[in-house]
């Protein structure tokens, strides 16, 4: 109870009513992390104003949990106005508690998440009580009326002293074929300077997604780091991570939201490319991992909501059949043999 009232004290200093109230609670992360998220959402509101329509997420998607409440999540989807170059923005957080270290490690080895192979098993000593995983994500997808980069920010935390940060302006064009695009959005904006600020910290190390496809869609200035510190995560967030995240967000807001001239053929390629981006790194990531943390019913509900907003913009007039078809396509996709299954077959324990 006191936690809730504390949260509302904090959020009242920002006017964030256009976002889902469940989202902006961010109940499971540290105060400094929550403040950073609220800062981010506030900047977005300030800069985009009426361009981003207020949240209209239904209650059963705004917040969801599994039966034992060991997994909780919140989702918000805000659509861009008709004239805005913004298609939509998605914010979500998930909090999952695992009963034991081995259950936690099993999850990592099973999930098709970006951080699968980066789990630092030996290097970070896990607390012996239950372990947890917090994910906090924000991404913005732009319409094909612009070819400016999409935005992604994601925090992954499983220990008070360890934080993974993924932040990028995701290119909409092949950078090898379009050096001028690289120049406009990545060189002239001095993004590299901000990436280097984090790279230089002794507490940070680079982090590579296990998925080659995920790796391939990131830009050359993508921030992909794991921060390990000795109990001063609060300072780290406030003085380093927070500063960089807000600067990069500002660069995106200032450079990527305006209209751009897009030729007919270019638009065709743009739409095709965006479909791939939406499907693989974004949708599949969520679709594959939610069922591991929540009930199949919740997972389906959430992925349906995302699919609706992805497809609506892609194929106007798409019916619900499109969604069923998409689910079928996902079912038919060759499944990676989960590591725990593979080990079981070999007669070994998973951990």
């Amino acid at each position: 109870m006191s936690l809730t009232s504390c949260n509302s004290c904090m959020t009242s200093s920002y006017d964030l009513q256009k976002w889902s109230s469940k989202l902006i609670e961010f109940p499971h992360v540290s105060t400094s992390h929550r403040n950073l998220m609220l800062d981010i959402l506030s900047s977005i509101d300030t800069h985009l104003g009426p361009q981003l329509l207020p949240s209209s997420i239904p209650p059963d998607l705004a917040y969801f949990e599994n039966d034992s409440t060991t997994s909780q999540g919140a989702l918000d989807i805000r659509l861009g106005q008709k004239d805005s170059t913004i298609d939509f923005m998605v914010g979500y957080w998930t909090h999952c508690e695992f009963p034991s270290e081995s259950a936690f490690l099993n999850f990592f080895s099973d999930c098709e998440s970006p951080f699968e192979s980066e789990f630092p098993s030996d290097s970070v000593s896990l607390p012996s009580e239950s372990v947890y995983l917090n994910m906090t994500t924000l991404f913005a997808i732009l319409k094909p009326t612009t070819d400016a980069p999409h935005l992604i920010v994601e925090f992954i935390q499983y220990h008070p002293n360890s934080l993974i940060l993924i932040m990028d302006l995701i290119p909409r064009k092949d950078l090898v074929l379009h050096p001028e695009y690289l120049q406009i959005f990545y060189e002239d904006t001095l993004l590299e300077k901000h990436r280097q600020k984090l790279e230089k910290l002794p507490e940070s190390q680079p982090f590579l997604s296990a998925s080659l496809y995920n790796r391939s869609h990131m830009s050359p200035t993508a921030i992909l780091v794991r921060i390990d510190c000795d109990g001063d995560m609060k300072e780290m967030l406030r003085d380093h991570v927070g500063v960089v995240v807000k600067d990069v967000l500002r660069i995106w807001l200032e450079n990527c939201v305006g209209r751009r001239e897009i030729g007919e053929i270019e638009r065709e390629i743009l739409v095709r490319r965006d479909n791939f981006l939406k499907r693989y790194p974004v949708y599949m990531d969520i679709a594959d991992n939610l069922p591991l943390l929540f009930s199949p019913e919740i997972a389906r509900r959430v992925t349906d909501a995302l699919l609706k907003v992805f497809r609506k913009r892609v194929t106007p007039g798409a019916t619900d059949d499109g969604i069923a078809e998409e689910h079928q396509r996902q079912m038919d996709r060759p499944k990676r043999v989960r590591r725990s299954e593979r080990l079981q077959k070999q007669g070994k324990r998973a951990i």
């Binding site: 090898v176 050096p179 690289l182 060189e187 680079p206 080659l212 496809y213 391939s216």
Partner: protein
């Protein structure tokens, strides 16, 4: 070659002793002893001398060129490089280099292969050694090009780039990613080096160069006491395996549609122009006389078919 542009030489160390060139020490490596008497490899002997590299590094290079010759055989025409491009130096002999270019036969999917080494004695006393192997394919295939480069700025400090350079936009072509990067298990090789405590990721300061690399590219700086052992026991295996993967997966013809070929050619042109021009034009004149730099640049540009501006 590719990296000259962005690499800053390190200055803090005293002059390292240059590795002895006595062939008697190389008894264990057959390919080395062969080169002392005859040159069965069809590459220029000046190139294969690699006079400034450590023993294990030289052996590795010879192994690589030997694999290439074995696998590609007559697909590669003999070298046609002019002698004064095969070997060049500045007046004070503090900078030396060797370049060899072999063109692919008409039917081969290989356009050309470049082997190159550069040695530069810096005023501080330390030296810089760059060793490059680069294979460029024709537009009759969209298989990846091959890039390998070592940059050694001190006995204990080595930067290694190795990659199968994608010819297509991987976001738009996940099947291409699957064929050349997932099915080949090339990521395992990258991870072998990544896991070593002596390596750390190394990012080019040139964003375009960063952008041409694949998701499985090796781009590391290696710092260790015993570089000889590192190259012999770890780096060598990975580099040879990646070369083998390239030779086996990227040699065949592929079906290329008309429109695809147009994009392929445009992309390759940009790759050549931005990677090569930026690199060579900027740096050769720094290490060599304008006349030598011009000569070498011309030879390269001719084969890359880049118009001089």
């Amino acid at each position: 070659m590719v990296s000259l542009f962005h690499h800053a030489p390190h200055f803090p160390l005293p002059t390292p002793p240059s590795p002895p060139r006595t062939r008697s020490r190389l008894r264990t490596s057959i390919s080395c002893s062969m080169t002392s008497s005859s040159n069965p490899l069809k590459w220029r002997s000046k190139l294969l001398e690699f006079p400034h590299l450590s023993t294990s590094h030289r052996n590795l290079m010879l192994d690589l060129f030997s694999s290439i010759d074995t696998h590609l055989g007559s697909q590669l025409l003999p070298s046609s490089i002019a002698p004064n491009v095969a070997s060049f130096e500045n007046e004070t002999r503090t900078s030396q280099g060797s370049l060899d270019i072999r063109l692919g036969q008409d039917e081969s999917t290989i356009d050309f292969m470049v082997g190159c080494w550069l040695h530069c004695q810096l005023p501080s006393g330390s030296s810089l050694d760059i060793t490059t192997l680069f294979a460029f394919l024709k537009s009759t295939t969209d298989a990846p090009h091959l890039l390998l480069e070592f940059i050694q700025s001190s006995p204990n400090s080595l930067i290694l780039y190795m990659d199968l350079l994608p010819r297509k936009d991987l976001v738009l072509h996940p099947d291409y990613l699957q064929t050349f990067y997932q099915n080949t298990l090339i990521e395992n090789q990258r991870q072998k080096l990544d896991k070593l405590p002596e390596t750390q990721p190394y990012l080019s300061s040139n964003l375009y160069l960063r952008g041409i690399l694949s998701p499985t590219s090796i781009s590391v700086s290696i710092n260790c006491e015993n570089m000889e052992e590192m190259v012999r026991d770890h780096v060598g295996d990975v580099v040879k395996e990646m070369l083998r993967i390239w030779l086996e997966s990227c040699g065949g013809k592929r079906e290329i549609g008309e429109m695809e070929r147009e994009i392929l050619v445009r992309r390759d042109d940009l790759l050549k122009r931005n990677a090569v021009e930026m690199d060579i034009s900027a740096n050769l004149p720094r290490l060599f006389s304008p006349e030598v730099a011009e000569r070498v640049k011309d030879a390269i540009q001719k084969v890359f078919r880049i118009e001089s501006k």
